[in-house]
């Protein structure tokens, strides 16, 4: 019972870490995948923006500067991103312009906007919310007609007409991101250099640079949060194993006395407890890894949200190492207590 509880506690710690890391990686990978799916070569973001911060807009008037001035620009379109929840966004798109980038959305049901209050969603979002074309979708405190459902992996999960979103959110002529398509992608660096001369304070990235920014290291808040969860994990493992091993040492006082009577040194006794601790931590880590598949299934397929959890294999080792370190720290005090046990007192223990 004690052993089972310890393994379960350690597994929860491992699952916590794997779920957090998996969520971070999953969400960022998904963002990067959708960005790549747009088919743009260059991204232009407002001067004070950061990777995950879509709350800062810029004037749409800079688009003509890009298209008219640069000879290799085949198309450029701006989108407005409006947050609707913690990690939920609605994106305003000028469809004819957007289609010039990569042919536009590939519809699995329905088609493009028919009116100003039409919405398009990707099939992932539609499946999660059981939406069909023609349904009414409530967003931004108003009803929208679902005009089309498209294949996921492009731009966003919910798309509305750009002009409508600009009006509804008081962002007339404002956009959040500009996507630029070149006639020759090999000239990306060259074009960026030239654009940087004209759009001095703006942030310009090649698509490759931009998608590489979608990593945990680029998001300080996520990194700090991960560290906090890991620290909590180590603490939970430490406390659980401390209690468990302390109880074990008390329960086995007499057995420890027997081992000492047989000639076991303090190191031998300590070694037995530490090996048992490693076994607990390894068993807890394996269970934790299995549980992370359960959390992935729950987050990706059961909960209706836009969260994506990935399985990050390298973190199996890191989470297991964290669990082992926490458990070993927890085993030190009970282990030393056992190792220092007086053999005669231990043998007399009832």
């Amino acid at each position: 019972m004690r052993t089972t509880l310890s393994i379960v506690a350690i597994s929860i710690q491992v699952t916590m870490v794997l779920t957090l890391v998996g969520l971070s990686a999953g969400m960022l990978d998904e963002q990067a995948r959708r960005a790549r799916g747009i088919g743009a070569d260059i991204i232009i973001r407002p001067p004070s923006s950061s990777v995950l911060n879509f709350g800062i807009n810029m004037s749409a008037k800079i688009i003509p500067k890009v298209i008219d001035v640069e000879p290799h620009v085949a198309a450029a379109t701006g989108v407005l991103v409006q947050g609707t929840g913690m990690l939920d966004y609605v994106t305003g798109v000028d469809l004819p312009e957007f289609n010039k980038l990569n042919g536009g959305f590939r519809f699995v049901q329905g088609g493009p906007f028919q009116g100003p209050y039409d919405v398009l969603v990707d099939s992932y979002y539609a499946d999660q919310h059981k939406y069909h074309v023609g349904d009414t979708v409530t967003q931004l405190n108003r009803p929208w007609r679902l005009a089309g459902i498209y294949e996921p992996g492009m731009l966003a999960r919910q798309v509305v007409p750009l002009a409508t979103l600009q009006d509804l959110t008081g962002n007339r002529d404002q956009i959040t991101v500009i996507y630029v398509k070149l006639d020759d992608p090999a000239r990306t660096g060259e074009v960026i250099d030239r654009l940087k001369g004209k759009l001095k304070e703006y942030k310009l990235f090649s698509m490759q640079e931009y998608t590489e920014l979608y990593s945990v290291n680029s998001v300080p808040m996520l990194k700090a949060f991960t560290v906090v969860v890991i620290a909590l994990g180590v603490l939970v493992g430490f406390l659980m194993v401390l209690l468990s091993m302390y109880t074990a040492v008390l329960e086995r006082t007499r057995e420890i006395g027997v081992l000492k009577a047989l000639g076991a040194s303090p190191g031998y006794v300590l070694n037995i407890l530490l090996r048992e601790t490693v076994l607990l931590a390894v068993a807890g880590s394996i269970l934790g890894i299995l549980l992370s598949y359960v959390t992935r299934f729950t987050i990706n397929d059961v909960i209706h949200g836009s969260l994506i959890q990935s399985i990050v294999y390298i973190w199996w080792l890191i989470a297991a190492a964290i669990a082992i370190v926490g458990a070993m720290l927890g085993a030190i005090y009970p282990g030393l207590k056992a190792a220092r046990q007086d053999a005669i007192e231990a043998l007399a223990y009832e």
Partner: protein
């Protein structure tokens, strides 16, 4: 039997400090035990039998006096040296068997070898000892599946598996019924006679004491 005693104790004293009170558990014990001898130690509770047992077994150091055990002077030994002594020179049999409950009988015996860094296969001659102890068919059972008598026989096997110079038995029949007591005592005598195993046995029971070559009586920390 050789002339040099395997245990030679002179004016052995042991004082425990209990709070602010000094308890004189041994007050000048003198005892010689010859190699191959089977000695019973009897005496009332508090007479110092167990303390003497613990000192001879290297579980606690004496306060004063001299105690030579198979050539080792126990007075000056460090904790580590006494631990080493327990691996090789003495074997213990306890009243409550003290087998490790999660291990089989075989593993309970093997762990004593493991602690003494003897990890190879069991000495074939030890198979005869196991046969003598009647354990051949019971080695793969855990203690909870063994009777009290069987558990005590496993404990005896564990105590002698490393061929200790001295077997120390503390009330080995204290938890057994008459039939099993007779069996265990008979086995101790057999081990003594067949293998020349030196045995020191603490007991309250005069009938059990009679299995030894001689009986030593203790009272108030001294040998009478």
């Amino acid at each position: 039997m050789s002339d040099a005693p395997i245990i030679s104790i002179r004016d052995l004293r042991k004082t425990y400090h209990v709070g602010e009170v000094d308890v004189h558990a041994l007050r000048g014990v003198n005892l010689d035990v010859q190699r191959g001898e089977f000695v019973s130690i009897v005496g009332p509770s508090g007479s110092g039998k167990s303390t003497l047992f613990h000192i001879i077994g290297g579980l606690t150091p004496p306060t004063a006096g001299s105690i030579l055990l198979d050539g080792h002077d126990l007075l000056g030994l460090t904790d580590t040296q006494r631990t080493e002594l327990r691996k090789t020179t003495v074997g213990f049999v306890f009243q409550k068997y003290n087998l490790l409950p999660t291990l089989t009988a075989r593993d309970n015996i093997e762990i004593a070898r493991h602690i003494a860094h003897k990890d190879g296969p069991l000495d074939p001659k030890f198979g005869d000892v196991l046969k003598l102890l009647g354990l051949t068919g019971r080695l793969d059972h855990k203690p909870r599946a063994l009777s009290g008598g069987e558990q005590q026989r496993v404990a005896i096997a564990r105590a002698i598996v490393n061929h200790p110079a001295i077997l120390l038995a503390d009330e080995p029949t204290g938890n057994l019924d008459t039939e099993n007591s007779t069996t265990v005592l008979g086995l101790l005598r057999d081990l003594n006679q067949r293998l020349g195993q030196t045995i020191l046995m603490i007991t309250h029971n005069p009938e059990a004491a009679a299995y030894g070559h001689r009986t030593v009586r203790m009272r108030d920390g001294c040998i009478e």
